[in-house]
């Protein structure tokens, strides 16, 4: 190990080493400690918006995906209190969009659903908003269904930082936020997005789907049918 990995934090009492510059989430994932998250993907700059990865550090709540690991931090993550808060956040995500799992192609492979399974969500609890959201089917190979968007900005980050196309952006604030498309018409069909783009591989929900792929994997063989999101994300450090 040497001095390079000599610094440590503890997560739920477990000693976890970290390198300078790593976040608590980075250190946790490297040590096979699962902290639930949706807007975080280790391939991209942290966004810190979904707050599912909130942990308690020395008594204060912080987003573990953006909080740098610092020598001696005592982190609490897998506690009843924090998991209850994560469950409430997940339930709010369900009711503020239109997440109708039985009709969604992403069902069984959806991270929002999988996190809800992991947290034992038996119902969305809160009153549903049933918001009016636009569907954009103008692209020949891609469907954008804003009903399922959770504003994680992963497609925004992937299109900007990896694809170099800047196809997506978030517009508006709070409950008025929408995922917008960077073309004069505002339609996906008028952009240079390709179905092979990185932006098409990162959506945690069924908001961005490749056309003509629906229901090709039978129920029982989908990613989260038999494996929790914890096992999947620790297993290969992300799909």
């Amino acid at each position: 190990m040497g001095t390079f990995m000599s610094k440590t934090i503890t997560i739920d009492g477990q000693v976890v080493p970290f390198k300078e510059g790593q976040t608590i989430m980075d250190a946790a994932m490297a040590a096979d400690v699962y902290i639930p998250h949706l807007c975080h993907n280790p391939e991209f700059t942290p966004h810190g918006s979904c707050k599912l990865c909130t942990v308690k550090v020395n008594g204060r709540n912080v987003a573990s995906c953006t909080m740098p690991a610092v020598e001696g931090q005592q982190v609490l993550s897998d506690t009843l209190e924090l998991n209850d808060e994560r469950l409430s956040l997940t339930q709010m995500l369900f009711v503020e969009g239109n997440h109708i799992c039985p009709s969604c192609e992403k069902s069984g492979n959806c991270q929002l659903q999988a996190v809800a399974y992991y947290l034992g969500m038996m119902s969305p609890h809160y009153n549903h908003f049933y918001p009016q959201r636009e569907v954009d089917a103008s692209h020949p190979d891609v469907l954008l269904d804003r009903n399922r968007c959770i504003y994680c900005e992963l497609c925004v980050r992937a299109s900007r930082d990896v694809d170099g196309k800047n196809v997506f952006g978030l517009s508006g604030r709070g409950i008025g936020s929408t995922l917008v498309v960077n073309s004069a018409s505002g339609l996906l069909g008028d952009t240079n997005l390709a179905a092979t783009d990185k932006a098409m591989q990162v959506c945690p929900t069924g908001a961005l789907l490749k056309k003509r792929q629906g229901f090709t994997v039978p129920i029982g063989q989908r990613i989260f049918d038999h494996h929790t999101i914890k096992d999947v994300q620790l297993g290969d450090k992300h799909e």
Binding site: F94, N98, H99, I100, C101, P102, S103, C104, S107, G108, Q113, A116, Y117, G120, M122, S123, P124, H125, N127, H128, Y130, P131, Q132, R133, I219, D225, H226, T228
Partner: protein
């Protein structure tokens, strides 16, 4: 346990649902016979009893899409010690709630006037028909619900686990693979 006085009395109904959850109950298969030693049915689609009487457990499939749904649901809540929402529709509105972002009159016109092969093209307007709501709602937005059993439908195994937990006085708990929303 075959003494009727000791049996747990259960009522079930389907509101804005497809009866798929009721069909899934049949997937309990031969375990149904053992279950019938422990329970008896009040109002269900099987007994043809029209109104729910005093019961231990009420199991409601489907969301609330019209005025009649509300009356039935409130009767269940009033009469059942424990009320269970079964399936995606009762818990989230489900597939019927996909009409929630479409104007109700547009829905009616699409179904009764524009759809091909229709005679007359009239929107049904009989006073006996229940008043439809502009949106479909999960039942917990109308009455207090004690337990939720998600799935579209929940599997026979999930229903069996849930019922046997409940009948044995345990807090119902599903295994990971029994919990799904589709």
């Amino acid at each position: 346990m075959s003494d009727p006085k000791l049996k747990v009395r259960i009522a079930t109904c389907s509101l804005a649902g497809c009866f798929g959850c009721h069909m899934s109950v049949l997937d309990i298969d031969e375990r149904l016979l053992g279950l019938l030693e422990l329970i008896e049915f009040d109002r269900t689609p099987l007994t043809d009893i029209k109104h729910c009487g005093p019961c231990d457990v009420g199991i409601v499939e489907g969301g609330v899409c019209n005025a009649e749904n509300v009356h039935v649901l409130k009767e269940f809540r009033k009469n059942c010690k424990v009320l269970v929402a079964i399936g995606a529709c009762a818990i989230t509105g489900g597939i019927p709630a996909m009409r929630n972002n479409i104007d109700l009159w547009d829905c009616f016109q699409e179904v009764y006037q524009y759809e091909g092969g229709l005679e007359g093209g009239q929107v049904p307007n009989d006073p006996e028909l229940p008043l439809p709501f502009d949106k479909v709602h999960p039942i917990n937005e109308v009455v207090k619900v004690d337990y939720f059993l998600p799935g579209c439908p929940p599997s026979g195994d999930a229903i069996w686990r849930f019922l046997t937990d409940l009948l044995n006085g345990r807090e119902p708990k599903l295994d990971y693979e029994m919990l799904h929303y589709d």
